[in-house]
């Protein structure tokens, strides 16, 4: 067989390669529109389980925001000293932010949070924008932890339904947006977002199939544990660990 014959076979056989079916035009548009809406405003809680989880997250965010704003205001009155916010809410360092030595920064845990990271070079034209941006990221991470926690609890009882799937799909869209945003410039955050995306994709696929396959659920559990997703999320959300009702 010569090259021309092979090319003929190749061309003909390649036509069927991953041949697409009908384009789910409307379904995709609905999700795109939903993701864009969600990017503009945070989604409301949808049932009582989520209500409690979301309330906990909201409280955690409120506290984190208060601490963060307080510290920023404090920092704005000091000059020439690089400071860092503590995520240990049991400590009493709020009124005296610690200076960070380079060695401390490099030795920081891989799950170091936005709140524990040393301050980036300040953009004097937009500190409010930076703060708002960080809040969006934190809010998303809090929502993701709530979803994963809810999923684990409900899936164990065979109750992971389409609502959880939709929630996960919404979060997946935002996670991907954040991966393409300035949040991913931080390698720690980038890694966390990638891990989250993998876990959320698994959850979306699990709820899409609706088979409640225990082996698949086990794979998701392994993925969550192997990547330390919950631990990293909790390490990234300042003050949350001490709030009642926020543990999964």
């Amino acid at each position: 067989m010569n090259d021309d014959q092979l090319d003929e076979i190749l061309t003909e056989a390649a036509r069927d390669y991953n041949a697409p079916g009908d384009v789910p035009r409307d379904a995709m548009w609905a999700r795109i529109a939903a993701a864009r809406r969600q990017a503009r405003v945070a989604p409301p809680p949808r049932n009582r389980v989520w209500l409690w989880a979301s309330a906990g997250m909201a409280a955690a965010l409120l506290i984190a925001t208060g601490i963060s704003i307080g510290r920023r205001m404090e920092r704005s009155s000091t000059t020439g000293v690089s400071t860092v916010a503590s995520r240990d809410t049991t400590s009493r360092r709020d009124s005296a932010p610690a200076a960070v030595r380079p060695s401390e920064v490099s030795a920081a845990s891989p799950s170091a949070s936005l709140a524990t990271r040393p301050e980036p070079a300040r953009d004097t034209t937009g500190p409010d924008k930076t703060l708002a941006y960080q809040l969006v990221v934190l809010q998303h991470l809090a929502g993701t932890e709530a979803m994963i926690t809810t999923f684990r609890a409900s899936a164990r009882n065979g109750e992971a339904d389409a609502q959880v799937g939709k929630w996960a799909r919404d979060l997946l869209g935002t996670t991907r947006l954040l991966e393409a945003s300035q949040a991913a410039q931080d390698p720690v955050m980038k890694r966390l977002l990638e891990d989250l995306e993998l876990v959320i994709v698994q959850i979306v696929q699990y709820t899409n199939r609706g088979t409640n396959d225990p082996e698949e659920l086990d794979l998701i559990e392994q993925s969550i544990k192997k990547r330390g997703v919950i631990t990293k999320l909790r390490g990234t959300l300042p003050g949350q660990a001490n709030l009642p009702g926020t543990r999964g």
Binding site: R25, A39, L198
Partner: protein, 189 residues
């Protein structure tokens, strides 16, 4: 790309940036079919293809203000789409924990060749060999030989010179021929 189509692209983008949701849907409808087809060819799974397509448009709308009209809107969208698909497929492979290569394919079992010159098994073998092409070669082969994109379109989408697109296609075909020849040589007289 003609000046009038460029003008249409700019007008549509301008309407979208002005918050015109009907224009957003128009933009989506004009390009979704081709992008979804390409995503499906690259992903091989309808759910993944839908995910990649959605992600492409979400990102595109999010960054629409960055569109300068230097290339066609279709090319700009395809650039985002291919990037989304390649990143997504990397993650999927990582998730599945498996990689495939042409070498691995050569050890797979064969079936007897039918009267048309190739069998379902041969086709499957070719598809696996396409899967195993590198990230540089596969998009070019899929876009040109399967979806019928021109080298100019591919070059614009992948931000490479037209000559590079042609060279990659040549290389991809040679590799597939090699994978196919090892099989066909044994079974086709």
């Amino acid at each position: 790309m003609t000046e009038s189509s460029r003008q249409n692209d700019r007008q549509l983008v301008s309407r979208c940036l002005g918050g015109d949701s009907a224009a957003e849907r128009l933009l989506y409808d004009a390009h979704v079919e081709r992008i979804y087809r390409l995503m499906h060819r690259m992903a091989g799974d309808p759910d993944l293809a839908a995910d990649f397509t959605q992600d492409t448009f979400i990102r595109a709308f999010d960054r629409l203000e960055q569109y300068r009209g230097e290339s066609s809107l279709a090319t700009w969208l395809h650039t985002i789409a291919v990037s989304v698909a390649l990143n997504g497929m990397r993650k999927v492979k990582r998730l599945r924990g498996r990689t495939e290569s042409v070498d691995g394919v050569e050890g797979s079992p064969h079936l007897v060749v039918g009267p048309t010159g190739f069998t379902g098994d041969l086709k499957a073998r070719l598809h696996t060999a396409i899967d195993a092409l590198s990230e540089k070669l596969r998009p070019v082969f899929v876009m040109h030989d399967i979806e019928g994109y021109t080298h100019e379109e591919i070059a614009g989408t992948l931000s490479i010179p037209v000559g590079t697109s042609k060279a990659r296609l040549f290389d991809a075909r040679a590799r597939l021929r090699l994978a196919l020849a090892a099989f066909a040589g044994d079974h086709i007289a």
